[in-house]
């Protein structure tokens, strides 16, 4: 039985490692400027975690194979070096490893969160509500109108609760169900939650950030490749959570300007 344990464990360990080693399940192509640091960090961590995993499982299997139900009546012995070796190994190996991961990892984090957006970043406001995302552009005046929750009227497509009748700034605000952005331009996305907590996740952008009701949160990023990418909600928000999504539409600069003109003319 001991030997069977060892064999089964080795099979399980190798089978578990196989899809990782063969890159069967990986994130889609990174289209952001900061994402490569995250990908490298993930890759380094996978190497360390994967090695630790395999080593530990194989050692466990080997020891059980050798030392379970010994028929040889052999003397019981202790691992050479005893506990001291284990304690030292844990401190040194793991200590350096986690320090390295922590220290190097914070650069990727800092890149996303500690650098302010550029002054000329394109400002867009995202609103998350049960169960859809809407996006607002400030229009020709470059200013966003204020939000009035009591004016929200989904039936009349006033998702944000704007008051264009009484407010000049909101008259030219453009509201869209898709997030259209120009390629290679920094986007400053301000995030507003209408009702409960939601989250903004675009795999290709390597961005995930919660919407928190009552808090003014934001992310900024630059997309480097045109295309249509899925935005999904990742914070449990109610029964429609699974279906709460939108599309990020990264366009060439000209196409984006055409899109904006088209939207403005529909106001």
């Amino acid at each position: 039985m001991g030997k069977l344990f060892a064999v089964v464990l080795v099979i399980i360990a190798l089978a578990s490692a196989y899809p990782i080693a063969t890159h069967m399940y990986v994130m889609p192509e990174d289209i952001s400027t900061h994402g490569h640091q995250i990908d490298e960090q993930l890759s380094d961590t996978m190497a360390e975690a994967g090695t630790s995993f395999l080593l530990a499982q194989l050692v466990l299997a080997f020891f059980v194979w050798k030392f379970a139900e010994r028929k040889d009546g052999g003397k019981l012995t202790n691992f050479p070096g005893g506990a001291k070796v284990m304690v030292a190994a844990a401190f040194i190996l793991v200590g350096t490893e986690v320090l390295a991961l922590g220290v190097f990892g914070q650069r990727a984090w800092a890149n996303v969160y500690f650098t302010p957006p550029r002054p000329d970043a394109l400002q867009i406001q995202a609103q998350a509500g049960q169960f859809a995302f809407y996006f607002r552009y400030p229009g020709a005046d470059g200013k966003f109108g204020a939000l009035y929750p009591d004016k929200i009227d989904e039936g009349n497509q006033n998702y944000f609760g704007l008051d264009p009748a009484n407010e000049i700034e909101s008259r030219d605000d453009i509201v869209s169900a898709e997030l259209a952005i120009p390629v290679n331009r920094e986007i400053y996305l301000m995030m507003h939650a209408k009702d409960v907590g939601h989250s903004f996740y675009v795999r290709e952008l390597r961005i995930q950030q919660d919407f928190v009701p009552g808090l003014d949160l934001s992310v900024h990023f630059t997309a480097t490749k045109t295309g249509r990418y899925e935005i999904v909600c990742t914070q449990l928000c109610g029964l429609g959570h699974y279906n709460m999504k939108a599309y990020l539409n990264v366009m060439a600069q000209d196409d984006f300007e055409k899109w904006m003109k088209q939207k403005a003319s529909e106001l």
Partner: protein, 589 residues
């Protein structure tokens, strides 16, 4: 070596009458078994809920016969609605984390064996002990009441984030009385756990037998003791949090709800509250809670491994100090559940470092276990197989923590199946393996009859392979960005993942079915198992010095005296290959 405080005598009247013996018992052993039974009931319910969830994910339109009887609104025609899926998910998590993982390894085995292992007649406060079980049972009944009310169970997950959980029934189905019942249930559960933790701590500090110094306590006793210290402080924080949540829901306060929220077309009459406050309070409890779930199993597994290997660990002290470090560090890491929550990103880095640091004591323990196997002679049994399986599972679940501990990687893995895989491997599998190991090891002592070894080993093989088949693939799904808590997969990129999801579901249903072997074994052995001798495993600790099952006052009115540390195996010159703790035979130098 300091002398243990000598235990004072107390007259301990034997229980009389059916109610006092089996229902409202003050005997820690009966209370331990009651907790075990409750944990068993909760795990069966939680497992069935997980089958329903997994089934729905891969066969969303297939009728599950009879389900419409459980909930007409939630499963019309036997097909689960999106909201009911979330109800099942919420109840699954709540039942498993609270009523299984806090109950079985900690309250059940701890209540039964801690007093015995330190040489005490009972816990320090048997009345509080009885109250703690009954509070837990009442909490359980209040929770499952949510299944039968028309509104149904809540849909906000076991983490109940505000404002979804706080605004009331506007938030969705189940968020009216269902959510209220959740809050009340967990608040009562907190009180039960606090009373239990109080008992464990006071008993360990004050009721040790003569010669039982702290360092002579078995490793599992240490694990229960450290766990109870964590539980005392963690549940003391969750209780006020639940009260504040209930007040927001029912009394119009605004602890967690800001102004201007429009939910279901209704402007909510609250203002100024902070949703992040709930997250901070909840996770300040929630992270220590997961160590409450794993530490007792670490202790039980260590205890069983030593007995099975017939030699002590390389160092029991390192295990104990590591458990203490984990307990200590567990208070500093709660923000790693909140990296992308909108809290100050600098805090995220602060939380990341202690999170990564916890790897050190965890690795130390793993290396000690592995290193101790070297040169041993491991007796293979159902108990020892589960103990060895625990090591494998703990490693698997632990290494995924490397990823999640780093905020930058958490950006892409947060709220995906990677997280779900991580916590299921450590809690749902490793911790439960500790419970299985403990059951096979101690069933004979608790009932007077041994469990069937063949069935036990068969149970192990099916469960070991099965759980790997279920939970290892979760990590792959997460690496691709498969989001969690979805009642259906309708994203562009999840289509190709469905075959893997089907594999998982089939593995889950199969592994679930295999647990019937365990249930059968429990029931069969209770009545027909081979009679258990006093010391079937040739163990050294005090539970093996008393009859199986023990008399109502454990040691027959006498007070054991302790001469050795708990793991005198393979001692040079001893009569057998072990020396019991209360034997005056001289020990190793």
């Amino acid at each position: 070596m300091e002398e243990a405080p000598a235990q004072q005598a107390h007259v301990h009247a034997p229980p009389e009458g059916f109610l006092r013996k089996y229902v409202f018992s003050l005997d820690h052993k009966v209370i331990g078994k009651q907790y075990y039974a409750l944990g068993l009931l909760a795990v069966c319910m939680g497992m069935v809920l997980s089958w329903l969830m997994r089934f729905h994910l891969v066969w969303p339109r297939t009728r599950i016969p009879g389900l419409e009887l459980l909930s007409k609104a939630g499963a019309p025609g036997g097909v689960i609605t999106p909201e009911y899926y979330l109800s099942l998910l919420t109840m699954h998590g709540t039942l498993m984390v609270f009523f299984v993982l806090t109950n079985a390894p900690f309250a059940a085995f701890g209540n039964y064996f801690l007093p015995i292992q330190i040489g005490a007649e009972d816990m320090a406060f048997p009345r509080f002990n009885m109250m703690s079980f009954w509070a837990t049972l009442v909490a359980f009944l209040v929770l499952i009441l949510a299944f039968v009310i028309p509104d149904g169970p809540p849909i906000s997950g076991w983490t109940s984030y505000a404002p979804l959980s706080a605004v009331g029934k506007d938030a969705g189905p189940g968020m009216g009385w269902g959510m209220n019942l959740w809050g009340i249930s967990i608040a009562i559960f907190c009180i039960g756990s606090l009373l239990g933790a109080l008992n464990f701590i006071a008993t360990t500090l004050d009721l040790r037998a003569k010669g039982m110094t702290l360092m002579r306590m078995p490793i599992c006793t240490w694990a229960w003791f450290i766990t109870s210290c964590i539980a005392l402080l963690a549940f003391a924080v969750l209780l006020p949090a639940c009260i504040l949540l209930i007040l927001d829901r029912t009394a119009g306060t605004s602890f967690f709800i800001p102004s201007g929220l429009v939910v279901s077309d209704r402007l909510q009459p609250h203002s100024g509250g902070s949703p992040l406050l709930w997250q901070h309070l909840f996770w300040f409890f929630g992270h220590p809670e997961v160590y409450i779930a794993i530490l007792p199993s670490m202790g039980i597994v260590s205890h069983i491994l030593i007995n099975s290997m017939r030699k002590p660990l390389l160092s029991a002290r390192v295990i104990i100090y590591s458990m203490m470090s984990i307990g200590f560090l567990s208070w500093m890491v709660w923000g790693h559940h909140m990296f992308v929550s909108g809290m100050n990103p600098f805090s995220s880095l602060l939380f990341s470092f202690p999170t990564l640091t916890i790897t050190i004591p965890a690795t130390m323990m793993t290396l000690i276990w592995l290193g101790s196997l070297y040169g041993a002679n491991i007796r293979i049994s159902a108990a020892s197989l589960f103990a060895l399986g625990f090591i494998s599972m703990f490693v698997s679940g632990g290494v995924s923590g490397f990823f999640l501990a780093q905020p930058s990687i958490d950006i892409v893995l947060h709220a995906t199946y990677f997280v779900v895989g991580h916590f299921h491997m450590v809690m749902g599998v490793a911790s439960i393996f500790g419970v299985f190991a403990g059951t096979y090891f101690w069933f004979g002592k608790m009932t007077g009859r041994m469990m069937n070894e063949t069935l036990g080993q068969l149970h192990f093989w099916l469960t070991f392979v099965g759980t790997y088949c279920i939970f290892m693939p979760f990590h792959y799904l997460g690496l691709v960005g498969n989001v969690r808590r979805y009642s259906a997969f309708v994203n562009d990129f999840t289509g190709p993942l469905m075959p893997l999801h089907k594999f998982i579901t089939i593995a889950a249903l199969g592994t679930g079915a295999a647990q019937l072997i365990f249930i059968f074994n429990l029931i069969y052995s209770r009545y027909k198992g081979a009679p258990a001798p006093e010391n079937p495993w040739n163990g050294t600790t005090l539970e093996w010095s008393i009859p199986s099952p023990p008399p109502w006052n454990n040691f027959g009115g006498k007070h054991p005296v302790i001469y050795h540390d708990p793991y005198q195996y393979n001692v040079k010159g001893s009569k057998g290959d072990y020396i019991m703790q209360d034997s005056p035979e001289p020990s190793a130098g």
